[in-house]
Symmetry: C2
Subunit: 119 residues, 2 copies
């Protein structure tokens, strides 16, 4: 029984758009991910998805607007809402979503991950 | 549609052991709470509970051990596990748990909150 140090976890991997699970609770997973560049437009039909920026800045494009999430800020994308995350520079995120949530939702692209490793 | 700045939210309240909801997703709530001192021993029969320390340090006493959670660290208390959170000095936490989770679990004390405000 030991606390999880997030910075140590982030320092243990270096690839982008490849979320790692750090803890699981109530059917939800908390994942860490480093991102840079763009992900495909997608949506999750059944799952709300929380983005919490630990380092850097993330832009999430929505159908008719965009949201800038700076360090120490978070935003929840409601289920069914098309979104496209973009990070101009390296950005460290916490994701919180149901355990079965697919990485790129209803879309498949080269960044799609089929199973998530634990870190 | 705007990101939520956590420090701004923390700066908007000053009482201890009174969690505020900042976002709700997938039947779960993310709550902010400032703590200092001790909470009663309690457990949640059905809910795992995540503690993430944003500022300060939290000790969680468990039946046969204790966990120290420092700034930037998190720990999940599994459902059914008796625990007692203690903060020697002021500590800022994120809690993540199902929306219906009672503050002091199966116990009631002067710190028990019946409904959680949003912040």
């Amino acid at each position: 029984m030991k606390a999880i140090n997030l910075i140590e976890k982030y320092n243990s991997f270096h690839d982008y758009w490849n979320p790692r699970v750090v803890t699981e609770l109530n059917g939800q997973q908390l994942k860490l991910v480093k991102v840079k560049g763009e992900l495909i437009w997608h949506k999750h039909e059944l799952e709300d998805e929380l983005f919490y920026v630990i380092k850097g800045e993330l832009k999430i494009c929505l159908e008719d607007s965009e949201v800038i999430i700076k360090e120490g800020e978070l935003f929840t994308v409601p289920k069914g809402v098309e979104h496209k995350p973009i990070a101009k520079n390296e950005c460290w995120l916490i994701l919180f979503e149901p355990s079965g949530t697919k990485h790129t939702g209803d879309q498949h692209c080269e960044q799609t991950v089929s199973t998530f490793k634990w870190v």
